[in-house]
């Protein structure tokens, strides 16, 4: 068996057998699912709370409009005096008292409605009350001007601009959300993978230095071979861990849905969609459209691009991690060298979440999807929006060119660093090592 294979095998087994790795692999999905369940449960808990609100309506206009809703029960205190109403709200511990005074005009009325409550009232509750009152007053205004309500209703137009590109493909706003989601998820996933497994590579290099086994090993194999073996072995362990996470997470979610009765499909999805509906104007019927849009994405190309950038990004960064590991004696010393890793990663994520979503083909997005240290993340986020093939080719070319350069550079630091003990090197010294 070739030495590289042996090293990869050993690294893989060492990572996988590590107790932390095992615990994390099997505990993380449990924790994640547990968290999701807890949040869902807490959310339902909050929503179930029904608030009793008393109203004191001097106008008598609104009695019909205050209908009990899912979260709010209305009580009519208009027969009492205002002070009695206030007192009994306090005694009965109701949520609050809505006071609608009688005014000359609707305009005056709209500005003088008050809500008395012990605590600052929930914004959602207030806005639903405001909506009811506003609708009523608006309708009254129309009627007083002699307009027929049903005519107005019929006159309202529903506009939904459909977007189409020049090659005739129809798109919609939903398409953009779907693209954003896919790009964002891929970029974020890549960043997490780089940080977690890059750190593992670094720790494994430091371990060899600390155990003093390094010189025994490199009297048998070339340092570069050892470094590559470490990077590859660790990445295989990482891929295995992610596969287990995905499978376990899927199984646990299914189990959770079936046995614990967490109605993910129905209520929560609807809730989530309702939020989207309210904020973004997407209707329930569009849910099916989401699925259609996912199918419309060039999935093959996406998966391929994800694979290429994933491999490229991981190699680029983990060779830097390996060089850092070789340069220091302990993990604490590695902090000073973390900036060149964290900075471009964060930059990639920020550019991705702000510039790319704002304008996927703008200058900022384009430039950062070319620079090798940020390109894996930024380009991954751009690709769902459709990028010229030659841009991708240039970006990949630059990325893999700089990987070769980086591995060469890291290899130089690595081969000197692994034999240096008891020194806390500076950047200046690392630079000197390149010339050894």
């Amino acid at each position: 068996m070739s030495n590289l294979k042996l090293i990869i095998q050993r690294e893989f087994i060492a990572r996988v057998r590590n107790r932390t790795f095992v615990v994390m692999t099997f505990l993380s999905p449990l924790i994640m699912v547990g968290m999701i369940s807890l949040i869902t449960w807490l959310a339902t808990l909050n929503n179930d709370e029904v608030r009793e609100i008393a109203y004191f309506d001097e106008t008598g206009m609104f009695a019909k409009d205050f209908k009990d809703s899912e979260n709010i029960d209305y009580v009519d205190y208009s027969q009492l005096t205002l002070n009695d109403a206030k007192d009994s709200v306090i005694i009965k511990k109701l949520y609050g008292l809505l006071y609608i005074p009688k005014k000359q005009s609707n305009k005056e009325l709209a500005e003088s409605i008050q809500f008395y409550a012990e605590e600052a009232p929930n914004v959602g509750v207030l806005s639903s009350i405001e909506k009811i009152i506003a609708a009523k007053i608006t309708n009254q205004n129309f009627e007083s001007k002699g307009l027929d309500l049903s005519t107005i209703e019929n006159a309202k137009a529903q506009v939904n601009i459909s977007i189409e590109n020049f090659s005739g493909e129809k798109t919609s706003k939903i398409t953009n959300y779907v693209k954003m989601f896919f790009g964002g998820a891929a970029g974020y996933f890549l960043m997490m993978f780089i940080i977690i497994y890059g750190n593992m590579v670094m720790r494994s290099v430091i371990e060899e230095k600390a155990n003093r086994i390094i010189e025994i090993i490199i009297s048998s194999v070339k340092p570069l071979q050892l470094m590559m073996g470490k990077i590859l072995g660790t990445s295989f362990a990482g891929i295995l861990q992610f596969i287990i996470w995905v499978i376990l997470g899927g199984v646990l979610l299914t189990v959770g849905v079936v046995f614990l009765g967490i109605d993910v499909d129905q209520s929560n999805m609807q809730d989530a969609l309702k939020v989207v509906e309210e904020t973004q104007g997407v209707t329930m019927a569009n849910f099916a459209e989401v699925l259609v849009e996912i199918n419309k994405l060039p999935l093959g190309a996406l998966v391929l691009a994800f694979f290429v950038y994933f491999v490229g990004g991981y190699f680029l960064y983990s060779s830097i991690y390996a060089a850092i590991g070789a340069a220091v004696d302990s993990e604490t010393d590695s902090q000073q060298f973390m900036l060149p890793i964290i900075l471009p990663l964060m930059l990639g994520i920020y550019v991705g979440f702000f510039s790319v979503i704002e304008n996927p083909h703008g200058t900022v997005s384009t430039v950062f999807s070319m620079i090798p240290l940020t390109s894996p993340i930024v380009m991954l986020m751009r690709i769902p929006f459709g990028v010229n093939w030659w841009e991708v080719v240039i970006s990949i070319f630059l990325l893999f060119g700089s990987i070769i350069f980086m591995i060469w550079l890291a290899g130089k630091i690595y081969r000197v660093g692994i034999l240096m003990y008891g020194k806390k090197p500076s950047y200046k010294e690392l630079f000197k090592w390149l010339k050894y």
Binding site: R212, I213, E215, I216, I217, S219, S220, K435
Partner: protein, 309 residues
């Protein structure tokens, strides 16, 4: 005698620091070669060059007459001074891994490991983790891994550090046996008594330069000063002492005796044969002790280094 290893004019600089300057050594086939020198002299750099861990800036290395190349890694077994093993890996697995890195097949490695583990009576360690073993125990495993692939050239950097005297002796005997089986051994150490005991050739490196090299017996011959240690019983020790001091270069000597002797170290000039001197002594007194003072490697080491300062 052919040389298994030849280093020719090797130089190595790290930035502005010169680790080796024009060093050449010849290690004869089947010898035990002591590589001596104070800390920081450049021994480890030289060893790393031979192991192809570091490349020399100038110079060439020949193993078995061929310029050093990648395949030679399998012909060398190296036990570095800074040595250790993976703490959380099991002894057996680890030994197998390291043996396979040296090009042994898994099956072959297993068989040979079994032989050595039986020999050192450590078979029951196979499934233990290194962190459960003591330092000396781990060193035994390291020794086995170093010699397992039957290399032509064995390089030991301070092999006895960390061993108790009994285990150091076991290792010493193993090294001698390996030599008898045809291996050539390079030995880097500060422990002069083990050099005295084991090495037939030495090279002395100081401040990145080689300052001495050769067969131990030749070097000793070169460094000996025609000095003799004598123990004499005369009728009048004081008178004899006065006479001898007059004629020769005399110094005090110290050795254990049961009777009262005149104990002296006498240095003759190069041309005086020992027989003539002995004859002179026996005519003056009863000669109880007469032996040539041969410098120890330690004395040669200190003398050469201080003269070079």
């Amino acid at each position: 005698m052919t040389n298994l290893l030849e280093v020719q004019h090797a130089s190595k600089r790290f930035g502005s620091f010169t680790a080796l300057h024009d060093v050449s050594i010849q290690v004869p086939q089947g010898s035990i070669f002591g590589l001596l020198g104070p800390n920081g002299a450049g021994k480890t750099t030289l060893i790393r060059i031979v192991n192809q861990i570091t490349l020399p800036d100038q110079g060439a290395v020949y193993l078995d007459g061929e310029p050093l190349h990648k395949e030679h890694i399998k012909d060398i077994g190296y036990l570095p001074e800074e040595r250790g093993l993976y703490k959380s890996m099991k002894v057996g697995e680890q030994a197998l891994y390291l043996a396979q890195l040296k090009g042994l097949s898994k099956k072959e490695a297993k068989e040979r490991l079994k032989y050595w583990f039986d020999k050192f009576e450590i078979t029951h360690w196979w499934n233990k983790k290194i962190q459960e073993l003591s330092k000396g125990m781990a060193q035994k495993v390291q020794f086995i891994v170093t010699v397992l692939h039957r290399p032509k050239l064995l390089i030991f950097d301070e092999p006895f550090s960390g061993f108790d005297p009994i285990n150091a002796n076991i290792i010493k005997d193993e090294i001698l046996q390996l030599r008898d089986e045809g291996a050539t051994v390079i030995f880097s150490t500060h422990r002069m008594e083990s050099v005295e005991e084991l090495c037939d050739h030495i090279a002395l490196i100081n401040k990145s330069k080689k300052i001495l090299e050769g067969k131990v017996s030749d070097i000793k011959r070169e460094f000996k000063t025609n000095t003799y240690e004598v123990g004499l019983i005369a009728e009048n020790n004081d008178a004899l002492f006065a006479e001898l001091t007059d004629k020769f270069d005399v110094g005090p000597a110290d050795f254990k005796t049961i009777d009262d002797q005149l104990k002296l170290k006498i240095t003759l000039d190069k041309n005086t044969p020992s027989n003539e001197f002995l004859g002179f002594l026996s005519s003056k007194a009863q000669v109880m002790r007469f032996n040539e003072v041969i410098p120890t490697v330690n004395e040669i080491f200190i003398k050469t280094i201080t003269e070079n300062e």
